[in-house]
């Protein structure tokens, strides 16, 4: 295991899932691989947490789910961002940017 791999920052997994799915519908493993790839393996996704989060977001109405054929003709549960999910992503993104900027300002502050 690579030591650089860390768990996803507490509370950001939902936002990362929504963001990933805003590009295209994906199944669970696809989402995990995409998050790991795009974060250049900084984040390691725990499958239990991911699948649980997917079910929760589905319950909340931000995702829809359906079983589809994959490219290599296996059946997989695909998740699709709903209109409510897109809204939620926007609000979470702006919220995150505000916080990140604030943290960055604090860390960069001189003296």
């Amino acid at each position: 295991m690579d030591d650089a791999n860390t768990d996803v920052i507490q509370g950001t997994l939902d936002m990362l899932i929504l963001k990933t799915l805003s590009l295209q519908p994906l199944h669970g493993f696809g989402i995990a691989r995409r998050i790991e790839q795009i974060s250049r393996d900084v984040f390691k996704v725990n499958p239990g947490s991911l699948l649980t989060a997917l079910r929760r977001l589905e319950r909340a109405g931000w995702l829809d789910a359906e079983w589809r054929q994959t490219e290599n003709s296996r059946r997989a549960r695909y998740y699709i961002l709903t209109r409510a999910g897109r809204k939620q992503l926007e609000s979470e993104t702006s919220d995150w940017s505000r916080r990140a900027a604030a943290v960055a300002r604090l860390l960069n502050a001189e003296g």
């Binding site: 725990n46 239990g48 649980t52 079910r55 909340a60």
Partner: protein, 889 residues
């Protein structure tokens, strides 16, 4: 919307559990396959790729469970699964399940039944509007006792007090209703017009009493109870405005009370009429009018407090009125209110007589419930010890401790739910039995039932018990079992659960002893009570009440003629050896107290003075009753009108007021404005109010020489054979004089004596049953503990036998162990009983709460039962083959 989605998805999962879990499992498997495929694509061989995927993603089953466990419906599924599992486990151990469920059912059933009886009487508010505002007001004697009020006092309070929004006075009334050939005696009340308003009730058809009719010679009107209206008038609404004949007078029916009206002051009252006393007699302050019914102590007063005033404030105001007489309400000596007045809440008043017995029963049943719970805890502990291996296995397979405890608790809650369901059945029967057994004077007995509060109580108790009895074994097993359980399923050492179980048995024995001692004390009390000489010979006595009602008996002479003719007719009945009339009958509830003055003692002038029971008698009363003459002569037929008043007094009165001298020949004045009488004889004391009563002053007067003849007298008949068999002939004899006179309250004197101990007997029955059940439960508990210990020590016993211990040695060793627990329980129990029996002291009669005989008997019985419970498993141990025991290794 999101909530709705949550609910919809959750319900979907619950309704299609296998499809839902398949869905999750498929997704997890797909994830895993994809991860493995990824590793394979990186060049790993399939076997290594799968291994890497498993390391990275974890156990697919665990992942699936993790996904499941985040959903709200998951805990329902777990609970159902736990309950199913528990059900299977219980079915696999039918003996254990049956014992536990039955024990709990008995405990819960008995508790629920007693609670059902006690709750409406002691805790439920009376069924009136703002019941806490209703109070009873009575005179206070100089001795501090309560006494009925006079109409004069009522009139004065009505005018002077400000604390009450309404006041009412009541007296009992037993009018004869003439409708058909045989007259019927009804039970009713004469009330002031404000009575129903004071209680906050009103007729549901017709109208309430009108105050203007509540005066002498006012309109004769009556209000019927719902029961009488249904039973005698078929629920006919047209009865309103019609007249019925009561005591020879016509009364107009003006209303009917609703079925829901509960007349707690006289629960059996069937109709009401107005008191119609003369208020003008009171406010004139004319002392020549004192000798009227307006100044007799025979009324019950109730009041409703204003919303702004409380009980304490009303008590203060009434006291200040009592202490400051005003000229316009001049009072006679006997109603001077010099002792003050007593104000009680109605609730307290109605229930105070039954309170000690009911609270004692509630205490007893809680002890029983506690014993039952301990027994079940004990059984669960024993079971838990046997299940250590299973629990350790589950823990090793990844079950969290909290999860195992939850599972075990589910089992105990399920047991108590089964017990509770069965217990409700027992309670339903129990409540009916309680009502059937209840003494006749029990207030609000008609309110006893199994209803919502009782049901809630039962469910609450059941759940609580399930959690409490299950928690201790669950904690113990998961603590001791998780590490060591797998190593050996039979423990080598006794300790842990063994010690806890021992402690529980000690407690059970102690509690059973408390119950048994209480029952024993009550049993001895009843024995003493029934052994109390009543002062007369009850065997062979038939009694009944006879009234002279109707206008033909308005004069005292006509009444006397009727009674003396009736007595002559009764004496001629074959089989009657003696007969007499009396104004009050011992042990019947009659209570007719009079003040009296001694000629020789001038100090008694003007004080409330001495009191005695007054018996106005016709015929040979003392001879008929079997009351013995101590001195002088008996009253009899020779004491006729026109001669000076002859009196007979009781021994206690003679001793108390004429100490050291002969009472015969002394003169007494009984009641106000009567002639002085001369004592001609002294007879033995008679228990008038009850067998336990200590008030034994009595004065007997011949009706022939008394100022008036009471309208209702009790007939006593001594028979040569079976008293009850005489009844038809005696009734016929009375009706041969006047066929329109009702005869009521027929009873043999033996039955009256038995009834007078009814309250104690009621409590005794309950304690008897509870005591026996407690004894059985404690014995079962003891047997269980000793048996389990024998099973655990079987190897040790084998070794001892192999080393030369005889079966007798083994027997002694095992019994000693069980009896040590018993002895500890007895010691603690005796200490507890000494404390607890104080609570039932008021139910005891002539028996000390520390009665040595009761304690000794109970200890011996308990020890014997315990010895048997220990001996059974000990015999098994002594008879066991050492080789078999040792081979169990």
């Amino acid at each position: 919307m999101s909530l709705w989605r949550q609910l919809r998805h959750g319900l979907h999962v619950l309704l299609h559990p296998s499809a839902a879990s398949q869905d999750v499992a498929d997704e997890v498997r797909h994830y895993f396959t994809m991860a493995a495929a990824g590793h394979e694509a990186n060049g790993l061989p399939p076997y290594a790729a799968r291994r890497a995927a498993r390391v990275a993603t974890g156990n697919p089953t665990t992942v699936g469970e993790q996904v499941h466990s985040h959903r709200w419906e998951f805990w329902i599924e777990t609970a159902i699964a736990d309950a199913r599992y528990a059900m299977r486990r219980l079915r696999a151990a039918p003996g254990f399940t049956l014992t536990t469920v039955l024990t709990l059912a008995i405990g819960i059933g008995a508790t629920t039944a007693i609670f059902g009886a006690v709750y409406p009487i002691l805790f439920e508010p009376l069924p009136y509007a703002e019941p806490r505002k209703i109070v009873m007001i009575s005179d206070r004697t100089d001795g501090g006792d309560r006494m009925d009020v006079t109409f004069g006092t009522y009139t004065e309070l009505l005018a002077r007090s400000r604390s009450f929004s309404a006041l009412a006075v009541i007296r009992a009334w037993q009018p004869a209703l003439t409708r058909h050939a045989t007259p019927e005696r009804l039970r009713g009340q004469r009330v002031s017009a404000s009575y129903f308003r004071t209680l906050g009730a009103a007729p549901f058809i017709g109208h309430d009493f009108d105050a203007t009719a509540d005066r002498p010679r006012g309109d004769n009107v009556t209000i019927l109870s719902y029961g009488l209206w249904q039973q005698m008038f078929g629920g006919d609404r047209d009865i309103l405005g019609h007249q019925i004949t009561l005591e020879g007078d016509n009364y107009t029916v003006i209303g009917v009370m609703p079925a829901t009206f509960d007349n707690v002051l006289a629960p059996t009252a069937q109709l009401w009429s107005l008191l119609q006393y003369d208020a003008s007699l009171v406010s004139t302050g004319d002392s020549t009018r004192y000798n009227s019914r307006e100044w007799g102590h025979h009324l019950t007063m109730v009041g409703r407090l204003r919303s702004t005033s409380g009980l304490a404030q009303a008590t203060r105001e009434v006291a200040s009125i009592a202490n400051s007489p005003v000229p316009e309400f001049a009072r006679p000596d006997w109603a001077s209110l010099s002792g003050g007045m007593i104000v009680h809440s109605l609730q307290q008043d109605v229930t105070s007589s039954a309170r000690p017995a009911l609270l004692a029963m509630l205490g007893a049943v809680l002890l029983l419930l506690l014993i039952a719970c301990m027994n079940v805890t004990n059984l669960l502990l024993a079971r838990a010890t046997r299940r250590r291996g299973e629990v350790a296995m589950r823990a090793a397979l990844g079950a969290a401790r909290s999860r195992i405890i939850r599972q075990l608790l589910t089992e105990s809650v399920l047991l108590s739910a089964l017990g509770g369901a069965l217990g409700l059945g027992i309670a339903a029967t129990g409540v009916r039995v309680l009502v059937a057994l209840s003494p006749p004077g029990l207030p609000r007995a008609n309110a006893i039932r199994l209803d919502a509060p009782v049901f809630v109580f039962a469910v609450g108790v059941t759940t609580l018990i399930g959690l409490v009895v299950g928690l201790l074994p669950a904690i113990q097993i998961t603590r001791a079992g998780l590490q060591s359980g797998l190593r050996r399923s039979t423990a080598r050492t006794v300790g842990g659960p063994g010690a806890t179980r021992g402690a529980l048995v000690i407690a059970e024995v102690a509690l059973a002893l408390v119950l048994l001692v209480s029952g024993g004390l009550l049993l001895r009390s009843i024995g003493r009570l029934l052994a109390t000489p009543p002062g007369f010979a009850p065997a062979g006595l038939l009694t009944m009440q006879v009234a002279a009602s109707g206008h033909q008996y308005d004069s005292t002479a006509a009444r006397y003629l009727f009674f003396s003719d009736a007595l002559d007719a009764v004496r001629r009945v074959p089989g009657v050896s003696a007969a007499a009339f009396t104004s009050q009958l011992p042990l019947s509830g009659d209570r007719d107290g009079y003040g009296f003055r001694l000629e020789s003692d001038a100090r008694s002038e003007g004080t409330e003075g001495a009191n005695a029971m007054r018996y106005a008698v016709i015929g040979d009363y003392a001879q008929t009753m079997g009351i013995r003459l101590r001195h002088g002569r008996l009253l009899g037929d020779h004491d006729i009108a026109g001669q000076p008043l002859a009196l007979m007094v009781s021994e206690s009165l003679a001793r108390g007021y004429f100490p050291g001298t002969d009472a015969v020949g002394h003169r007494l004045q009984v009641g106000p404005d009567t002639a002085w009488g001369t004592i001609v004889g002294v007879v033995n004391d008679v228990q008038q109010a009850s067998l336990a009563a200590t008030d034994r002053n009595a004065i007997y007067v011949p009706v022939a020489q008394w100022v008036w003849t009471d309208a209702t007298l009790s007939l006593v008949v001594r028979s040569r054979g079976d008293a009850a068999a005489l009844l038809p002939a005696v009734k016929a004899a009375i009706w041969s004089v006047d066929k329109d006179q009702p005869i009521i309250r027929v009873a043999t004197m033996d039955a009256m004596v038995a009834m007078s101990a009814a309250a104690q007997r009621f409590a005794l029955r309950v304690f008897e049953v509870f005591g026996i059940v407690a004894l059985a439960l404690a014995a079962i508990g003891l047997y269980g503990v000793v048996s389990a210990s024998v099973a655990e020590r079987i190897r040790e016993i084998g070794v001892r036998t192999a080393l030369g211990a005889s079966p007798a040695d083994i027997l002694r060793m095992i019994i000693r162990q069980g009896m040590t627990l018993t002895a500890a329980g007895i010691v603690i129990g005796v200490a507890g009983a000494i404390e607890a029996t104080r609570a039932i002291a008021s139910l005891l009669f002539d028996v000390s709460p520390l009665d040595a005989v009761s304690y000794a008997t109970v200890i011996v019985v308990l020890a014997c039962v315990a010895a048997i419970a220990c001996w059974l498993p000990a015999r098994r141990a002594a008879g066991s083959d050492p080789l078999i025991a040792l081979r169990m290794e």
